[in-house]
Every structure is written in structure tokens, then in C-alpha cells.
């Protein structure tokens, strides 16, 4: 299966993506591989504004028809925006995981570390097969 893994994003092995924004903020979502594996998404629970997130800790929940899955924060920082449209339309995670399906914006405490480049994430998917 060909994977959709944009080159300009960074990734985690737990299938989150991170987009760098100006001003020390990042945008966070789940990857195309993740939405494909989860199936039709019907519920999203996002952290409240100003929540302090810790890299590697559960920060959100996505539920498909089949099952609930935790989303792990790829970075450490404070939530500055939530995608409220996604709460009403969880299917945006399926149809546009890197665009309209973004989940939240986070102001980083320090630099983001330990993230994977696109080619390394692609490699980790291959190894997991």
C-alpha cells in the first residue's frame, strides 16, 4: 500500500504528525496510516485550551466505529487552539488527515525533539509490517 507521508512534516512512531508554524507553535494530527488503520472515525476528544501536554503522554482520544485509541502528544507545550470543526465532523480525520483533520496547536516549551523525518517514519511503517 502506498503511504501518504508529506515530506514537510515530522512524525512519531505512534502515528502522530507535527507541522511547524511560525512563532514557536506546532500543529498536531494523526497520520494517513493511522486513520486508515482505525477505519471510519466517529468521535474525537481534544484537550482543553491551555492544557499542558507532555511529549509521549496521552492527550486526546479518537474513536472509530470499531475501537477507541489514545493519541499521544508528540511535543511538550501548552494547547493554544483546538480544531472545533473536527469535534463536529470526526470524519475529517479520514478524508483529510493532514489538512482539515488537524487536531490542535501547541506552543512549545522548548524545541521539539525525538521526532522522525518523513523517510524515517516510512521506514518504521515498513519495519512494522
Amino acid at each position: 500500500m502506498s503511504e501518504n507521508i508529506p515530506d514537510d512534516l515530522q512524525y512519531t512512531k505512534s502515528h502522530e504528525w507535527v507541522r511547524s508554524l511560525p512563532g514557536g507553535e506546532v500543529e498536531v494530527g494523526i497520520t494517513d496510516h493511522a486513520q486508515e488503520a482505525l477505519g471510519d472515525l466517529v468521535f474525537v476528544e481534544l484537550p482543553q485550551l491551555d492544557t499542558q501536554l507532555t511529549a509521549g503522554a496521552a492527550c486526546a482520544v479518537v474513536e472509530s466505529v470499531k475501537a477507541a485509541s489514545d493519541v499521544y502528544s508528540p511535543v511538550t507545550g501548552r494547547v493554544t487552539a483546538r480544531n472545533e470543526e473536527l469535534v463536529q465532523k470526526p470524519e475529517l480525520l479520514n478524508s483529510d488527515p493532514y489538512g482539515a483533520g488537524w487536531m490542535m496547536r501547541v506552543r512549545l516549551d522548548a524545541g521539539a525533539g525525538g521526532l522522525l523525518a518523513a523517510r524515517d517514519y516510512a521506514q518504521s511503517l515498513k519495519e512494522a509490517e
Partner: protein, 374 residues
């Protein structure tokens, strides 16, 4: 590596996601589970249910035997082809399996039992059949296709000659007829009209492909589960098990108490609790966003004073046995086993937080329509 149905290679070639179900490698979904669900509610879908097991029981005393074996009464089956849904009980009243019985002739009845229970079912049936001289034949040479939806019967009929088509479309609900090599039953597990086609395993692939060519959408076990739950139908292993009687599982309607002298296995135990079963199976509709899942704890809704004081609802009265997102209601729905006398509102614990749910009487949706007001 699990057991495979005759259609396994077709599923894989169609891009199905394969999962283990009761020891079988089965298709979960081919693409979008929600679209497969909607295809069945609005048009027609096809499921491979060849993992289910057809058992042919034969002998001069087969009817007498089944009147002993099953909680429902095959004495009701007076016209050949008629079907009956029943539980098969332990002496203590727990459910060994739920199954459909077809009356073919006075010396031949067919049972269709669940995949995950087939070994224990066969052992139990053979043990009790022996004194009646009834023989049990496992029909591993057969496949089963379920074609379901408002257009399912017409699209199935299109595969048949005009004479056979007329016979097929004339089959009453919950009945079956033999049409050439097919045993065609107007039964299902979706809350929609349709057929279950029991046919030679060697014909399964060609028949599947012919139905798909008629515009019948392949649908997997994922859609099958959301459809049956909307239809308020129990899933063995979730909503039914050996620890609970049919009276605690929403299936009292399947227990034939008359005639009073029919001594079916489990009758004594059921009779003792009939007046006041301790638990009951109810439907739940989640009033908030979220998804109900099996094993979530159900509590009594906080009394208004306690609620005003901000106290949590902590009196556990049961748990969810099956939960999902209902595509038809666009809400989460569930079956839950709760103490008798639960009120109209309960709280369900979803990841440590109480969520309000309304107690309703299933089914939630059938024949393309929501049956619960949101």
C-alpha cells in the same frame, strides 16, 4: 493462521481487512464500514457467513429430540421450510448458543449455529441426540451468503430462472425453500429483508461474484455488527453467555412455556427465576458525544439532590454488553445488562467519566428507519 471460508481469496483480492473471528479469518471491512452499513440499510449488501455452521439432524424422532434440546418449541413448525430462532440451554439456564432451526421434513431439521461455539455445540447436541437415535451431520461442504437490504431479494432473484425467481420471491418471512442446489432462507441478522443462501461451497465464489455484479455491496463483520446492534439482536459471547439465562438477555420471547409439559433442558431453572429475573437486557442511547463499548460500567443516574451537590453516580447496576456508534441514529447505542428496575436514565462510565444515557427498548433501527426518537 485461522480457518478460511471458500471466499477467503475473493476477500483478500477485494482489499478486505482480515481479522480473527471465532478462529476464522474473516473480512472486517472492504473499505468504509459506514458505507457498507448504509448500503445494507438503503439497497443491498452481501456478507460471507460461511464460518457459521449448518448441522443436519435426521432420524424419525428428530422433532421430539429438538423439543427437548431447545427452549423454543419446534412444535410450532408445521409447514416445511419454516424457521425458528431459539436458545439452547444448560440445565442451569445459561445459554450454550443461539441458533436458527429449519424444518425440512419430519425426519430432517437443519440448525445453523455460531462459528465460535460450533465445537461445544456439536458435542452437546451429539450427547443428547444419541438416546433419540438422531444423527448429526456437520455440513462443511456448504457455504452461507447473507444478502440483506431492501433490494436484496430482487437482486438475488435476478440470478435465477423465471420459475425459480417466482419461487424465491414467494418465500414468506422466516421461511426457506430448496431451489436447485440452494437452500434459500428469508432470514438475516441486520434488521433488513433479504436472504441467507446456503449453497455448495464450490458454488460460493461464482455466486458471490454474480451478486456483486448485480450491484450488491460486499460488507464485512464490522457492518454486520453495527447492523445487528441497531436491530437489537444479540451477539453470542457479548450479550449471551453460559452465565445468563434468556430471561436476563432480552430473549424471554424465544422461550416457549406452553405446552406446560414440554420438558426442555433448562426449563426447571428458568421457571424458578421467571417471576423475578434479577437482571435484564436493555437498550441504551448515549445522550452525549462519545461511544459506548462492551464492559463499560452502568450506574443509576444520580438523584437530583446528589447531582446538585456534585456527587458522582457511583452505584453500579450493570454493564454494557455491546456498544457501538449507530450510523442510522448518528448516536452511540448499546445493549446493557442491568439490575431489574433500572430507571429511564442511567450513567455510563467512559474512560473514568460519567456520561448520561437513556434506557430504551430495542430495536433502534430496522428496515432503513430509526425507531428511537433522538
Amino acid at each position: 493462521m485461522g480457518l478460511k471460508t471458500p471466499l477467503h481469496d475473493v476477500h483478500v483480492a477485494s482489499g478486505a481487512k482480515i481479522i480473527d473471528f471465532g478462529g476464522w479469518d474473516m473480512p472486517l471491512q472492504y473499505g468504509s464500514q459506514l458505507e457498507e452499513h448504509r448500503a445494507v440499510r438503503r439497497d443491498a449488501g452481501i456478507f460471507d457467513v460461511s464460518h457459521m455452521c449448518a448441522l443436519d439432524l435426521s432420524g424419525p424422532r428428530v422433532r421430539e429430540f429438538l423439543r427437548r434440546l431447545l427452549a423454543n418449541d419446534v412444535g410450532k413448525l408445521t409447514t416445511p421450510g419454516r424457521a425458528l430462532y431459539s436458545c439452547m440451554l444448560l440445565p442451569a439456564g445459561g445459554v450454550i448458543d443461539d441458533l436458527i432451526t429449519y424444518f425440512i421434513s419430519e425426519t430432517w431439521f437443519r440448525l445453523v449455529v455460531n462459528a465460535g461455539t460450533r465445537r461445544k455445540d456439536i458435542a452437546w447436541i451429539e450427547q443428547h441426540a444419541a438416546p433419540f437415535g438422531v444423527s448429526v451431520r456437520e455440513r462443511t461442504d456448504l457455504a452461507i451468503l447473507a444478502v440483506q437490504g431492501p433490494n436484496a431479494r430482487v437482486k438475488t432473484g435476478a440470478l435465477l430462472s423465471p420459475a425459480h425467481r417466482a419461487t424465491a420471491l414467494g418465500i414468506p418471512r422466516f421461511s426457506a425453500a430448496a431451489i436447485d442446489a440452494w437452500f434459500l432462507a428469508r432470514t438475516g441478522y441486520t434488521g433488513e429483508d433479504g436472504f441467507e443462501i446456503v449453497l455448495p461451497a464450490a458454488d460460493a465464489v461464482a455466486t458471490w461474484q454474480a451478486l456483486v455484479a448485480q450491484g450488491v455491496a460486499p460488507a464485512g463483520l464490522g457492518a454486520r455488527d453495527t447492523l445487528r446492534l441497531e436491530a437489537g439482536m444479540c451477539l453470542y459471547g457479548n450479550d449471551l453467555d453460559e452465565s445468563h439465562s434468556p430471561l436476563e438477555s432480552g430473549l424471554e420471547w424465544t422461550v416457549a412455556w406452553q405446552p406446560a409439559d414440554r420438558d426442555f433442558i433448562g426449563r426447571g431453572a428458568l421457571t424458578r427465576v421467571r417471576a423475578a429475573p434479577a437482571q435484564m437486557l436493555v437498550g441504551l442511547v448515549l445522550e452525549e458525544r462519545g461511544v459506548l463499548r462492551s464492559h463499560q460500567a452502568v450506574s443509576a443516574a444520580a438523584q437530583s439532590a446528589a447531582a446538585a451537590a456534585g456527587q458522582p453516580a457511583d452505584r453500579k447496576i450493570g454493564e454494557v454488553t455491546s456498544g457501538t456508534f449507530s450510523p442510522t441514529l448518528n448516536r452511540s447505542i448499546a445493549l446493557a445488562r442491568v439490575h431489574a428496575g433500572a430507571g429511564e436514565r442511567v450513567m455510563v462510565d467512559i474512560r473514568g467519566k460519567p456520561h448520561a444515557a437513556r434506557v430504551v427498548r430495542p430495536p433502534f433501527a430496522r428496515n432503513g428507519k430509526a425507531l428511537i426518537e433522538i
